[in-house]
Amino acid sequence: MAKDVLVVIEHEDGAPRRPSLEALSLARRMAQATGGRALAVVAGHGTEAVAQAVASSGADVVHHFDHELLAQYTPDGYRLAITPLIRELEPEWVLMGHTYLAQDLLPLISATFDAPVISDCVDMEIDAEKVVFHRQPYDAKLVARIFDRGPAPHFATLQSGAFPADDLPQDHGGTVDAHTIDLSGDRIRRRVLEIHDAGESTVDLSSAEMIVAGGRGLGSKEKFQQLIGQLVEALGGAAVGASRPVVDSEWLPHDHQIGSSGQIVSPKLYIGVGISGAIQHVVGIRGSQVIVAINKDKDAPIFNEATYGIVGDAEELVPAIAQAIAEARQS
């Protein structure tokens, strides 16, 4: 039995999304190692072009479900298309990017197969006997090597950016297999009423040249204002950013949040104080030219991203740093 790898494709504006292409790239690697095929499934409406694009980008067979009730993603719509397909194809692995949609959908499908999902993987080892995925529990402070000892199909999701998609071909010539699906509205339990922006944003951090961002490690709203304020003043004005817990605790309005559910920034200088460096924050700051991290824990993942790292208590360090910056700017 060949060990096929099936990728569930997400798409947007008529094209496959980046995390799906990253999963496709890994699927090709895994299939190559075991002599199987890289397969893909596209569910949507009027999405023939998406399916074609995936076939050109390296999938050997793309299974395409086109139905008006699939035009809008719902877990039931996708599940009703994909679960029977998995039964039919019997792939060894089912892969997705670790996106919002994957987290909303994939465990629903895997549970039907009595399988958990190895989620948010950052690396993979493969040999003749087994596939081992690496994930990063404890907010990336540790790496766990995970093996699924259950029967196929196995399920995994991949952290965004961990598996580059640069090696995908452009003219692969995979085939598109169009499926018909019998769907009726009453089987779709989530009725989507609307999709909108989360709220008015009055703060645009995306074009800021200098950003001082604070995290939960600052301890309180007062300390946040005091210490971040000192740095902002010393720099002669910089934008203020924050990690999610800071805005969740209402130390600052939501539109100061940086990260996967906030803003993506690319300043010349980003200073992060009391921020651990969780992946959801870090994806928002990778475009920064220089990253300065101040954290009392030398093992905090933020230091993996930082240009300059300072280990210590923000309360002792920030006043000294602010003063030195202010003096330097005056001289």
Binding site: S110, P137, L142, D148, R149, A198, R244, G262, V292, R329
Partner: protein, 263 residues
């Protein structure tokens, strides 16, 4: 309406983690523990739904060893009515599916139309238990819930999407929701709440009482094996600056000017 809330006790965010001899788990002794962040928001959401309806019961459930009892106590002190502690050794050491099976059995035994979970345990971080649970129960679910209210025939739910967007939808009951951190402000516990919590019942059903066979849960039931657990290899290019605060400040400013040229 009866609302079941699944909460997990996790190590304190600032805890120093040490690996045990097997090299596959952390040492649990000498750690301080807290209720997982998004689970506190789930408890808050359940209390608000109960308050809005003017009736109902909020039952919190945790799977974990003796220490996890404290997570139940804190939820009871916030205002939950009753606790269930899956403390039997057979429940422990499972993978997310084993945890979901145990929670599904509780949801069925309790006949709770609504199950609330957090979205992600800040320690193991699989972010999948709630949706596995929904799959096992064959219920509709929403992950990363940023708003919920009861409406005719079910719930109106706001789901967080990428790029600061949100999806508003309606789902019928019974249902499962994964509550995202930040949905509402979480209330402080009052002294009165803490006193009242002491009188609230906490059940400890065994796997057998829940109709679960031991090979479907805990260590015996897990598919996912942790082969090793270790600190990440440092691939960091980071240049650490050391010294007294004034020295650090002077060196940093110098580097920002001369090397990085950003000042």
């Amino acid at each position: 309406m009866k609302i079941l809330v699944a909460i997990k006790q996790v190590p304190d965010k600032n805890a120093r983690l040490q690996l045990d001899e097997s090299g596959t788990r952390i040492v649990e002794t000498d750690l301080s523990w807290e209720t997982n962040e998004s689970d506190r928001y789930a408890v808050e959401t359940a209390l608000r739904l109960r308050e809005a309806a003017g009736e109902g019961e909020v039952v919190v459930v945790t799977l974990g060893p003796e220490r996890a009892r404290k997570a139940i106590s804190s939820a009871l002190a916030m205002g939950a009515d009753r606790g269930i502690h899956l403390v039997d050794p057979d429940f422990q050491g499972g993978d997310p599916l084993c945890v979901a099976r145990a929670l599904a059995a509780v949801a069925q035994a309790e006949e709770a139309p609504l199950v609330l979970c957090g979205t992600r345990a800040d320690d193991d971080g699989y972010a999948e238990t709630p949706i596995l649970l929904a799959g096992l129960l064959d219920r509709p679910a929403v992950f990363l819930t940023m708003g919920v209210e009861q409406v005719d025939g079910g719930l109106r739910v706001v789901r967080e999407l990428e790029a600061s967007r949100q999806e508003v939808s309606e789902i019928p009951l019974p249902a499962v929701l994964g509550i995202q951190s930040g949905i509402h402000e979480v209330r402080f516990t009052s002294l009165k709440g803490i006193m009242a919590a002491k009188k609230k019942p906490v059940g400890q059903p065994t796997p057998t009482e829940l109709g679960l066979s031991a090979d479907r849960i805990g260590k015996a039931g897990r598919r996912l094996e942790v082969l090793s657990l270790a600190p990440p290899e440092k691939k960091s290019q980071c240049e650490f600056i050391e010294g007294k605060p004034e020295e650090i400040a002077a060196t940093l400013v110098d580097k920002l000017r001369r090397e990085a040229k950003v000042l």
